[in-house]
Assembly symmetry: C2
Homo-oligomer: 406 residues x 2
């Protein structure tokens, strides 16, 4: 078994990098705070005797040697970046539980057949740079390294520039390092496990995701002198679209979700009718056909609103991640480990995207979920119990041992 | 008659301070660009032999001496600040036409009985600091100087700090300088004069204005894992409120207008359900009772949306300007000057707020409007013809002469 209090202590220790007054973490990918936690992580891994390498997208790999170094390593890990209103567990638990597994194996003097690998993937969150999970997508061959290096944040800074700004661009070619299997521990980020009183989620796959960038263009005019019928108010077009997006998701209840997360008025002023707004959309469902249907309905709604209000509504799909089934053998291995440890459990599908969803396209992959309070995530109040974190880390340990010694 | 081509040349010359690629001006009050045009204005006034003073809120006063210096000066002027998407005429025409009047009187060797005064009021637009027309409001006694100095922009900079940053805080106590009458030339900023083919608007008053600051508070949560019914999405609450505000104004057609000009999501991210939004509202009508009714309806709509969506909607009225009737004697003087010059004209009520609306609370005041293209203002494409600008300046000249020599 892992040491639950040591795991909890590292969770609390690293929460200081980007820690917020409300008890959350604001540690956007490749920010100075992300640089701090990366430095901490490298030092902690080296102290634990792991060999740390970094690839051209900044992803950190920490290797624990096995008896048979001809076998590809069995890997775990997640991410250390957060949302602007992030909590202390999303992604971080998966990385620090992996570190705790390595420390516990050392304490017990256990050597595995296959080597073990602990990974901290760059930009899982997708808040600063879109898409989410971009380094693991490049690892899996969904993008080239050059494509990812060229992505820019809202301030115009490229991934390449951001990597160099914190000195985190490594020498390893992305995807060059073989991985035999990948297991990611994560908080559920949803309400199901808690509601059912289950400790472990045995994750069967991830739902599909579509991301869009959009713009509404009207005409700036004087708030005091422009009669209502003459207005081309971009904010009112956006308002109707946001409500249409909600109705579209509700039309595919209970599985579908859709969110307008960002909306920025160009040159805003209190006494100017808004003329220009940029926005982003996120649509998800476990079924590919439902994603298709939602996108069609979105485009119809935008066309109707634009025509009626004399506005230009542009919508561009910038990313689509198909629903991902995980490896049935690995799912069974997680289930067996949870059973052996005596933890209550249920099968579950992930609502969030994870690096594991990308890895699944290249190597046998699965995930382990533990509950989080009220199902809340991407919020500073995100919370999980020490006992659940330890239970998840134990299941991770036993799953990795089973795979590495098989 | 004034020199129309000299007036046009000064309009085009000063348009370079904060000039935008699209042909407009972005010259927010007390910005470096506003500092530049203020320096230009002081130098131009001094070259024209005027005595320039500056008050504690940065308002510039340029005096042309009269035969009887015991009489309070007859004043004109407007403002040189603009909206972020401002044009080349809003406010600027009134100041530069005043300068042209002074230059033309010099050319013709005319001395007036009462002295003349040309004023450039600080922060008419209200875009950077609320409320609009704040220096003229302080002049008229609606606010103390200290209240205005303490107002802050969105970046937290106070008026006092902004004045000092461009060295524009003057020694004169605000309101200390007597004014005998005030006449402001301005573009109409609406479509009426153009539609009716009239050159001069004889302005009888300004409509009422109410400004509000508001916030919608929900709860940040994960865009992929939070089921639609569990969401407390602040952006959807804002969307419903924006559409309710539109309906409220439409319910008092055709006179009322209402605008949500600003809306800023706190900590926005594509895959986070928005939890916090700040916004501003602008509501106007020529009738005080209609302003009351709109505010009541606004608060009812906010309460209903908040209760239904489990959101906190806060709305604070930060400014209210009652409808203002102008001085009937001065209105008649403008009418007479326009008639004597042979310009087509009509009576009109101003949809925009103007410094004149504040001055009217302390001294006899009126305004002169000239048409602008398509009624468009607060837009970089704002446009007026050289002939209409010259006609307005001629009416200003003759109105000032009539008042100063009466
Ligand atoms: N796990 C997680 O929050 N990932 C961020 C990407 C997403 O929006 O699903
Ligand atoms: N004239 C003008 O645009 N004033 C700005 C204040 C307002 O919004 O009416």
């Amino acid at each position: 078994r892992i040491d639950g209090s040591r795991l909890w202590a590292t969770l609390m220790e690293t929460a200081a990098f980007g820690g917020t007054p409300a008890g959350g973490i604001n540690r956007l990918t490749l920010s100075p705070e992300d640089g701090q936690v990366r430095d901490w992580f490298r030092a902690a891994c080296e102290t634990a005797g792991l060999e740390v390498g970094v690839d051209a997208l900044g992803t950190q790999y920490a290797l624990r040697r096995g008896r048979d170094m001809s076998r590809p390593p069995v890997a775990c890990g997640s991410h250390l970046d957060t949302q602007p209103t992030g909590g202390k567990f999303d992604g971080i638990l998966g990385v620090l539980a992996g570190l705790e597994v390595m420390r516990s194996l050392d304490d017990a003097g256990i050597e595995t057949e296959a080597p073990l690998l602990l990974v901290n993937w760059t930009n899982e969150e997708g808040s600063r740079f879109a898409p989410a999970m971009m380094a693991s997508a490049a690892y899996a061959g969904e993008f080239t390294t050059e494509e990812i290096l060229a992505k820019r944040d809202a301030a115009g800074v490229s991934v390449a520039e951001a990597l160099d700004a914190i000195g985190c661009r490594g020498p390893e070619p992305v995807g060059a390092r073989a991985i035999g299997a990948f297991v990611e521990l994560h908080i559920e980020q949803g309400p199901i496990l808690e509601a059912e009183g289950k400790t472990i989620g045995v994750v069967e796959g991830g739902q599909g995701i579509a991301w869009f960038d959009g713009a509404v263009t009207g005409f700036e005019s004087h708030a005091g002198t422009t009669p209502m019928p003459r207005r081309r108010d971009a904010l009112l077009g956006l308002a109707e679209l946001a409500l249409a997006v909600e109705r579209i998701a509700q039309g595919h209840a209970p599985s579908a979700v859709a969110t307008m997360g960002e909306a920025v008025i160009g040159a805003p002023s209190r006494n100017v009718v808004p003329g220009q707004i940029r926005f982003t959309l996120d649509m998800r469902d476990p079924k590919s056909e439902t994603l298709d249907a939602m996108e069609t309905a979105l485009r119809e709604a935008a066309a109707e609103i634009g025509a009626r209000r004399n506005l230009a509504l542009q919508i561009e799909r910038i990313w689509r991640k198909e629903p991902v089934p995980f490896d049935t053998g690995l799912v069974a291995a997680v289930d067996a480990a949870a059973e052996a440890l005596g933890h209550s459990r249920r099968r579950i599908v992930s609502g969030a995207g994870h690096d594991a969803c990308n890895l699944a396209g290249r190597v046998p992959t699965t995930m382990i979920f533990v509950p989080c309070k009220d199902g809340v995530s991407h919020n500073e109040s995100e919370s999980a119990t020490p006992a659940d974190c330890a239970a998840g880390a134990d299941v991770l340990l036993h799953t990795l041992l089973a795979l590495a010694n098989a």
